[in-house]
Symmetry: C2
DNA sequence: TGAATTATCGTGTACGTACACGGAAATAAT
DNA sequence: ATTATTTCCGTGTACGTACACGATAATTCA
């Protein structure tokens, strides 16, 4: 490629560099460097002089040169659950992290992985200790176990290590940023879809499955949002709540049976595929089923038409952007938005394919 | 920040640079540079030797250093419509471009703007000529006027200037990439929402407003998708199509009147706010209204509950990522996906705020 | 065989910044 | 006033690459 250079000559937008301000301030670049990095060893007077010149020339450091010259190789770590055949949800965030890692490798950034068992607080604690002894420059974590996570981030605070939450967040933490979703409002959205679909006929059932673990917070908020919507819009509707512990999941026959009622819709705050499997088995596929997350199981039933809507919280993007936030903060000193609620994407059979294709192929630089 | 360097010593992942392979191949870095850039002036033998070493060491150029050393300042241009108070749609792409421009300024990339009148093919032609005489290194364009755009990109092909389409694309063009949406499938999605909402009661009206201009392609595809869905799923439903030329828009009283029918839903393939205004005026707010795009007018009626669903094609992101594609291609020589269909986002009153906040604050590096 | 070409290659400088080192100036201690 | 400190500041090298220039070796021509 031969670039047109004529214009650049005209274009006086050549950014002023550390060298130029050194000249204007009549000092050496070393001195300028010292004030830029607050290394001290500079008299008040020359400091002011340089600061003035930087102000006038509107100096902004060249990050490309900075990265090249810097010997610092920022090391990030992530502290998230590992996925299992039974619960594949956490595969997506992992993919997002790996993708981000590849993209920022050119900048000398590396990522280490600390994966814990999402059902065992002890596992989290142990891995958290490992993270600390690894002494990273930034941490991405899913603070699933509030108490243990709270203790952990306090230590990070003391060490002045920035950290970013994904999936959920802790109150009163000094996290650099958070990427997640508004579960309450997602419940409201589900309710709206449900209302449109059911038109006040029959009973609507809210099902919480196996939420004794990490997902309980999301499930509760979703349920609350769902209820709130109907309370405000269709107070007379018949809402039932069904809590199914994970031990009873296999008892398929009585999974969603409410005597003397005609069920028109089911809202699964998690694990919709289990409900779908049940409905499919019973041949009850006229019931509207709304669930969460684009797991493979769910996708299968969405394609079959058993699940009607899935609300996606973009776990891949959450993690990806979490890593990027740390990267931008550490390498480019960029300011980072503290709260980043992912949009509540609604997936149906019709837009599923476009959605999947798109999600899997995004690159790093859409912010 | 003080980075932990212990690990880096252990970590032997230090990337091999041009210097190192020069040493291994027993040549100078200048020679290595010549084979990397195919500048010739290298004998077959040493060329092979260097290539072998690059292969063994798995050499990958350091793009950060490359950008710094290169004198090339890629200049991109965009060729899109300007927005007007009457049609604000194209404001969003412009914002996306500006945002991208800021983010890649550090890499020496600049963007020039060529905005044409979306209703006048002549305007496009003129601006296209201006683009050519500006001799850019990459072009982002909305090929609204197929014929003129087709002529234009042929010239770009001859000049070997890469170009990216947004919004719509031309068949048989050698575009680097395309960012847009699948209008047909978006129509299907709208139909599904409509079906859920109306449950086969009443008549459903498809309204095309003022689509004699650039939007005609999208509108047709949307309509086709909408019809196809109902044809496949609910053949018996009563569908009406209403084409309203933009001159008649002001005749508000008879905007959507179909004698002897009970309208339960309206699908506006464009300018939903006009329909919404009419319905609002007539007090017919029980009719389900589905439209496109998060323009301010539409948002107002979405908040009021007149419009029930808006399908968003993410125009800001389209443009943003279009610029980024050019950037990555030109500066980083990255491979670019040719087709990028944006997900069909469904916006309701419930997720509107989250959505707006998110869209306006994304940064560059989510891919 | 010697000079004139040409093909092939190495060297030097630059990009904008980081940072170690050492030197000079200013101050303090003797 | 001389030495010892401290404060302040400039120089040099490096990061990995691009590219102009010049040098050497190989080839051709006379």
């Amino acid at each position: 490629m031969t670039l047109n250079r004529k214009r650049n000559i005209i274009n006086s937008s050549k950014r002023t560099g550390i060298k130029e301000i050194a000249g204007l301030a009549d000092v050496s670049i070393g001195t300028v460097d010292r004030v830029i990095h607050n290394r001290g060893q500079v008299s008040k007077k020359t400091m002011k002089k340089i600061l003035d010149v930087m102000d006038k020339t509107n100096y902004r450091p060249n990050f490309v040169a900075r990265v090249l010259a810097s010997k610092e190789k920022p090391r990030l770590v992530c502290l998230i659950p590992f996925h299992t055949p039974e619960n594949m949800y956490w595969e997506a965030p992992l993919e997002g992290i790996i993708k981000a890692e590849k993209e920022i490798a050119d900048y000398g950034v590396t990522v280490n992985y600390f994966l814990f068992n999402q059902y065992l607080a002890d596992s989290f604690e142990k891995k958290a200790r490992d993270v600390l002894s690894d002494n990273p420059d930034g941490v991405l974590l899913a603070p699933i176990f509030s108490k243990q996570a709270s203790d952990f981030v306090k230590k990070l605070d003391n060490l002045k290590i920035p950290y970013v939450f994904i999936d959920s967040k802790l109150k009163e933490a000094n996290n650099l940023s958070f990427f997640g979703q508004n579960s309450f409002r997602s419940g409201m959205l589900a309710a709206k879809l449900m209302e449109f679909s059911c038109r006040s006929k029959g009973t609507i059932v809210i099902v919480n499955i196996g939420t004794e673990y990490e997902n309980i917070h999301h499930a509760r908020e979703r349920e609350n949002g769902f209820k709130t919507y109907f309370l405000n819009n269709t107070p007379g509707i018949s809402l039932h709540v069904l809590n199914i512990s994970s031990e009873n999941i296999n008892n398929r026959d009585s999974l969603v049976e409410i005597p003397d009622t005609d069920i028109s819709g089911i809202f699964a705050t998690s694990s919709a595929h289990i409900i779908a499997n049940y409905l499919n088995h019973k041949g009850k596929n006229q019931i509207t089923l709304i669930g969460y997350d684009l797991t493979n199981d769910n996708i299968t039933f969405l394609e079959k038409g058993i699940i009607d809507f899935l609300i996606c919280q973009k776990p891949r993007e959450q993690a990806f952007r979490g890593i990027y936030a740390l990267f931008h903060h550490i390498v480019f000193k960029k300011q980072i938005r503290r709260n980043n609620l992912m949009p509540l994407d609604i997936i149906t059979r019709e837009n599923l394919n476009d959605y999947l294709e798109f999600e899997l192929n995004k690159e790093g630089y859409y912010e």
